[in-house]
């Protein structure tokens, strides 16, 4: 049963005394206004990065991936590091919209739309890396199981790399459907109040003729709930499967049974950090402080300190197992190649430890969780740390393998390898800037839905009911 109102102990999800119409006005305003100078500057920087990425890829395709500093020993370098990093970031959106929906976490309404969009863009960026890493990218379609004239010779369904193909493409498709089906009613809201012909026409196409019928809402809610139920195991499976790329191998440092939960926790960790980075900016630039409240920021910081600590436990477990297994190769990887600060890549391990495990601990303090500057700073630090984590896992496990004669010299990326990475930043932010301009960054209908149970002014109205005697309350409200 729907609650009459929420406990006074909970912070309101929407501040100010707002009507339904005010909610529409507040959220649609940035779409109907001309973009600010800041928007243009950000957008052009993103486009410039994107173009640099395209040029880097042009070189990659023309000259081969010898353009990158990969070699026989370090066959996965920045490229796959960046892939895992982006996929990890792409986990927060679906976690917020699906898992928190099933857990009935009301605060998700303020941030889910933007987080889902961020997820989709991050997965788009992630997908670039394995595709261009193939080298002969025009043969990328060979990963698909289709009846061909080569036998047919099929793909290897037992390979984790193929599982990845299915996992990432399914994840992208389902996230996109979830996001867009949730957007339909809001697109209709923008369409119906549009005052230019072009906007009316385009949002008319985009809203699929939505009209808010009760029967449609009933189906819409059922759809959202089932998609959430499907996405919940899906989001856990995706990073589990990404971790299988490593865990099913026999490379010391990768051959680890704790990888799936450890990767999932890390993904949530970095994803929430990215949501924080974007939300702190969005709420400021668009003046959405009433909808993305300090309560939202604090809730996400709590998730960050929790998942950061889970990741920390995983790091320590790995070190312990490196010693306890008494396996020389494991011991060498964990205690020499990683934990020894003075080994060639020791700096990356300790960078990771400092950023991911030590620094997020400041979020045990409420004052820090509710400090915008600290939140933004930490969200960037966490994502740097999570990039280091993937770099540590990939490079420090590979650069000294079983055969000392094939040990690699120090690996550092070329400008084109870095350029490709910067290019995905360009892609991500180009998409995000366009999203922020043309789409409602907050789910309008969902905010209206919680407005009368969790809005500030409506909660205050409930004071007199709090003071009623039980009999009076029953007389008034029981049916």
């Amino acid at each position: 049963m729907h609650l009459k109102y929420e406990s006074q102990l909970r912070e309101p999800l929407v501040y100010g005394s707002k009507t339904y119409h005010d909610v529409t006005e507040d959220i649609v305003r940035p779409i109907e206004a001309k973009p600010s100078k800041l928007w243009y500057i950000g957008f052009y920087i993103a486009i410039a990065l994107l173009l640099f990425g395209v040029y880097s890829l042009y070189r990659d395709v023309t000259y081969g991936i010898g353009q990158w500093n990969l070699n026989k020993t370090i066959g996965w370098g920045w490229d796959i590091t960046n892939f895992v990093w982006w996929v990890g970031i792409g986990h927060a959106g679906t976690l917020i919209s699906a898992i928190l929906l099933l857990f009935r976490q009301g605060w998700r309404t303020g941030v889910n739309r933007a987080a889902e969009a961020m997820t989709i863009f991050a997965v788009m960026c992630a997908g670039q890396f394995p595709i261009w890493h193939m080298g002969r990218v025009w043969m990328a379609f060979f990963v698909l199981p289709y009846a061909n004239t080569r036998g047919p010779v099929w793909v290897n369904f037992n390979s984790p790399l193929l599982w990845d193909v299915f996992a990432i493409s399914t994840y992208f498709t389902v996230s996109l459907l979830f996001w867009y089906s949730g957007l339909l009613p809001d697109m209709a809201t923008i369409r119906d109040r549009a005052f230019t012909k072009l906007r009316k026409r385009l949002y008319g196409i985009a809203s699929f003729g939505w009209n808010g019928s009760t029967k449609h809402w009933q189906r819409h809610e059922s759809l959202a709930l089932v998609l959430a139920g499907l996405s919940t195991p899906l989001v856990l499976s995706v990073h589990t499967i990404v971790s299988f790329d490593f865990a099913t191998s026999v490379i010391p440092g990768w051959h680890t049974t704790i990888f799936p939960p450890y990767f999932v926790a890390g993904a949530v960790f970095s994803g929430f950090a990215m949501v924080q980075s974007l939300m702190v900016i969005v709420r400021k630039v668009f003046g959405m402080e009433d909808y993305i409240t300090m309560g939202h920021i604090e809730a996400m910081n709590k998730v960050i300190v929790l998942t950061g600590s889970i990741v920390g436990v995983a790091y320590l477990t790995e070190l312990f197992m490196g010693w306890y297994s008494q396996n020389k190769y494991e011991g060498y990887t964990f205690w020499y190649s990683r934990a020894n600060l003075f080994s060639p890549y020791g700096w990356s391990y300790w960078g990771m430890m400092a950023c991911n495990v030590l620094s997020p601990q400041i979020f045990w303090f409420r004052k820090m969780r509710r400090n915008l500057f600290v939140t933004f700073f930490m969200s960037v630090i966490v994502n740097i740390g999570m990039w280091f984590e993937r770099f540590v896992i990939i490079v420090t496990s590979l650069y000294r393998d079983y055969l000392p004669s094939s040990w690699a010299v120090y690996y550092s990326p070329t400008i084109w390898e870095i350029g490709f990475y910067l290019g995905t930043f360009g892609l991500f932010f180009t998409c995000f800037f366009l999203f922020a301009k043309y789409f409602p960054v907050i789910a309008i209908a969902e905010i209206k839905y919680v407005l009368k149970t969790s809005g500030e002014s409506f909660k205050d109205d409930m004071d007199k009911q709090e003071l009623m005697k039980a009999e009076e309350f029953a007389h008034e409200y029981a049916h």
């Binding site: 199981p145 099929w154 599982w163 459907l177 089906s181 109040r193 996405s231």
Partner: protein, 195 residues
């Protein structure tokens, strides 16, 4: 696709809407639909709509995906082109779990969304009649279908007495057609917004 006559009552509060829905139904009128800006809980029950079976459809799509994955992979790896991967059995069920799971989710999600669009008759370029442009903003719009015997004036008065802030009678298309929204009247005055 037929033109019908409707009486429209607009409410600005769901607390007023609920009793009105009840009274309209008891009085014997047929509610065509109620258009709301967000899902109003319990309204479907109040209107006497049956539960949706969309989730059952989702389940069927899901097991279709499971079956497709399992039968496809086992056909490929045990019959069509059995390859020896490191001496492992051809029928390697545990290794197929990830792809089977992913296809289950994919089929269920895509199937459900398409079914949803089909049931609600929604697609790009589809247009439907609007009884009130604020139905997607802040109004709850109750639409009652008229029969030959309906006295529209009475019904309008009845709705007003039950809290409707705006009532009107309209002859409108009740289905969908391909069309553009920019031919509509613009509901709000032109305004200039400063960022």
């Amino acid at each position: 696709m037929a033109k019908k006559k409707f009486v429209v009552g607009c409410f600005d509060d769901e607390a007023v809407l609920f009793p009105a829905v009840k009274k309209v139904r008891t009085a014997g009128y047929k509610i065509h639909d109620v258009y709301t800006p967000f899902p109003v809980h319990g309204l479907d029950h109040a209107m006497g709509l049956r539960e949706t079976s969309l989730h059952t459809a989702g389940f069927i799509y899901g097991i279709t995906g499971t079956t497709t994955a399992l039968s496809g992979i086992s056909w490929v790896l045990t019959y069509d082109w059995p390859l020896n991967y490191g001496g492992k059995p051809h029928f390697a069920l545990p290794a197929w779990i990830p792809i089977t799971f992913e296809l289950t989710v994919l089929f269920a999600a895509v199937g459900m969304v398409l079914t949803f669009c089909y049931l609600c008759q929604m697609a790009p370029f589809v247009k439907k009649h609007h009884f009130h442009p604020r139905a997607t903003d802040d109004l709850f719009v109750m639409v009652i279908e008229c029969t030959d015997k309906t006295n529209t004036a009475d019904l309008e008065a009845f709705l007003s007495n039950n809290g409707a802030m705006e009532v009107k009678t309209e002859i409108a298309e009740d289905g969908w057609w391909f069309g553009r929204y920019d031919k509509d009247e613009l509901p709000f005055e032109q305004k200039t917004v400063v960022a």
